[in-house]
């Protein structure tokens, strides 16, 4: 080690200047690569339908046109889908938060006799699940939840990972809080609602965001259970259907010709329509994300304590 320290200092100084510059350039490139597809998609959605078929759109529309959006907004299906997506997101978030935090509180109490048992039962579900078919049979054939709004809500009322996040947070609070409330005669449930829950607001915000993003982004439940019911389609599922059609037409490797023939009447093409729906269904997340980003990260750090 001492041999190295004898080395002349000039070289290392030069390297110390070069590295931050190279590092900054690399990180900027990574940011560009991350953002490029998003901007590219927005540019496609704002481009003229036929022009977009030629491809080669980069970060701005070559021939500006709002046709894809105005066409989409004329379609009542998009409003219905936005309504379904929005309302299920809000309902799921509230219910999930309620049940998850309540259980987290019960399992944070060291004296609770079923604590160990319930925790084991719950944590195992994070690693083992029955799989698609048994779940499908349960929900579709046994509980008969298919083709209903309830199928969005009922299976998503609790999540184990979030319970651990909240429990970790509650365990970090001073234990004397609950104990003193109990001495003053409060029951556990009063202590939870009056004392613990208000203190948990930061972690609840984090968990609410996780749940809300998850239910806004879900499309597979619609496909499995509500595919046949048009007024229960979510935004993500509309986009999924658009993807399926473009996937099929790209099989022919002649997208542009086919599309031109089938879309001769309207000014939009499948590409611009798909991109417009992509932008609309990503918009809420793109808009709220920068402001709430720090909550997401706190939650991740809490969950990783025992994930």
């Amino acid at each position: 080690m001492t041999a190295i320290s004898v080395k002349p200092k000039r070289k290392s100084k030069k390297r110390d200047l070069a590295f931050p510059i190279v590092n900054t350039i690399i990180l900027c490139l990574i940011m560009i690569i991350t953002l490029y597809p998003v901007i590219n998609t927005i540019a496609y959605s704002l481009d003229d339908g036929y022009d977009a078929l030629r491809g080669g759109i980069t970060v701005y529309p070559r021939k500006l046109s709002f046709e894809a959006y105005s066409n989409m907004l004329k379609d009542p299906a998009i409003y219905q889908a936005a309504h379904i997506s929005g309302s299920k997101t809000i309902i799921i978030t509230l219910l999930n938060l309620f049940f998850t935090s309540m259980l987290a509180f019960a399992l944070s109490r060291r004296e609770y006799i079923f604590r160990k048992f319930i925790t084991t039962v719950l944590v195992l579900t994070m690693y083992v699940n029955a799989g698609l078919i048994p779940n499908y049979l349960l929900i579709q054939n046994v509980l008969k939840l298919g083709n209903s709004y309830a199928v969005y809500i009922i299976p998503s009322m609790f999540s184990c990972f979030n319970m651990i996040v909240i429990r970790t947070y509650i365990c970090g609070l001073p234990e004397a809080l609950v104990e003193s409330a109990r001495i003053d005669g409060a029951s556990d449930i009063t202590a939870f609602f009056k004392i613990i829950l208000p203190l948990c607001l930061p972690v609840l915000a984090t968990v609410a965001l996780f749940v809300a993003v998850g239910s806004w982004n879900s499309w597979f439940d619609t496909k499995l259970y509500n595919g046949g019911k048009k007024d229960l389609h979510s935004l993500q599922y509309l986009l999924n259907m658009k993807l399926a059609t473009t996937n099929n037409s790209s099989n022919a490797a002649q997208t542009s010709v086919d599309a031109l023939a089938s879309q001769a009447q309207s000014k939009t093409t499948p590409i611009t329509v798909r991109c417009a729906i992509t932008v609309v269904s990503a918009a809420p997340i793109l808009i709220i994300y920068p402001f709430l980003q720090r909550y997401f990260v706190t939650g991740m750090a809490l969950g990783s304590v025992k994930g």
Binding site: V6, E111, V128, L132, V213
Partner: protein
């Protein structure tokens, strides 16, 4: 320790007393427990369909029993062996790509001294994690389409090579989304794009807990920046890396479902189908519940074995138990 126990330590508490005392905790937790038993454990009963020729109209109890016919059928089909190969290949690609890219980005971020810039990079790179896979695949269709930006870029390089005489004539543009040999790597790249930023969080939090004295001591001993990364930063995140690696081994058959399902087309399907996609096709689309269930059960059972194996290794290595 509840209040009563403190004040009256001598009175022996029977189980009933404890239950009465903790009635609110029980009321708060048991409904959720029942809910989890219904939605997470009760479906395991459905595994018996793997041993049946299940017909929805006959129900679980009246369908014909076929023993292990579904399993032997599966493993005699080259199609299912392809599915297994795809699952393992994509799972390993995702694990290696995902881990390496996250560690590299975390190291680069750790070297940034300006907090403002660091936060901007983090905000931007976490973003794709929150976009749904449907949105991501839709964006990928633009980027990788035959006249998309990737092919544009390659075309420009080829033009340049032709100009300076290193290349004779321009090859056909690659059809990224319909090339089965590329599919594994393509989904790997898209997964890295989506998750690399998010994956750094855990490594960065491990790096912040490294004692700064170690860096100082290393530089006094003459270690340059790369030596410091190599001998201080990377050893500092070793235990996090090991835990995550072991946990991921438990998920070896979880190559993913959404991206493969959404990007599937008739040209790539031999290479794109994972077990989950296979289950979807056989179970939901073709209504072959018995076969799909057998495939799903195979995956779950292997996952359980891998999980306990990984947990065993973790405890042997002296790491915290995972469950």
């Amino acid at each position: 320790m509840t209040v009563n126990a403190r004040i009256l330590p001598k009175r022996k508490k029977s189980l009933w007393n404890i239950i009465v005392q903790q009635k609110w905790l029980i009321i708060m937790s048991v409904p959720v427990l029942l809910y989890v038993l219904l939605f997470n454990y009760a479906p395991m009963w459905g595994w018996i369909t793997a041993f049946q020729d299940y017909k929805p109209k006959d129900g679980l109890m009246n369908s014909d029993w076929v023993g292990i016919k579904n399993f032997s059928w599966l493993f005699s089909r080259p199609e299912f062996l392809d599915v297994l190969r795809n699952t393992l290949a994509m799972s390993i690609i995702n694990l290696v790509f995902g881990t390496v890219s996250a560690i590299v980005l975390a190291v680069l971020l750790n070297e940034v001294t300006k907090t403002g810039f660091k936060r901007v990079v983090q905000t931007v790179t976490y973003l794709p994690h929150f976009l749904s896979m449907v949105i991501v695949v839709s964006m990928a269709q633009n980027i990788f389409s035959s006249n998309g930006v990737i092919n544009d870029f390659i075309g420009k390089i080829q033009d340049l090579l032709i100009k300076i005489g290193l290349m004779e004539n321009k090859p056909m543009p690659v059809f990224w989304l319909g090339e089965k040999k590329i599919f594994w790597w393509l989904q790997g790249v898209i997964n890295v794009w989506k998750e690399v930023g998010w994956g750094t969080i855990i490594y960065i939090s491990a790096m912040t807990s490294i004692d700064p004295c170690l860096y100082e001591a290393a530089s006094i001993d003459g270690a340059g920046r790369f030596k410091r990364i190599l001998h201080v930063t990377l050893p500092g995140i070793k235990s996090t890396f090991v835990i995550l690696l072991i946990m991921n081994i438990g998920h070896l058959l979880e190559a993913g479902f959404e991206i493969q399902y959404l990007m599937e087309n008739s040209q790539v399907q031999d290479y794109s189908r994972t077990i989950d996609v296979f289950v979807m096709h056989y179970g939901i689309s073709k209504m072959q519940y018995g076969i799909a269930s057998a495939a799903g059960m195979f995956k779950s059972v292997v996952a359980i074995i891998l999980l306990f194996g990984a947990n065993f290794i973790a405890s042997k290595l002296g790491e915290d138990s995972l469950i």
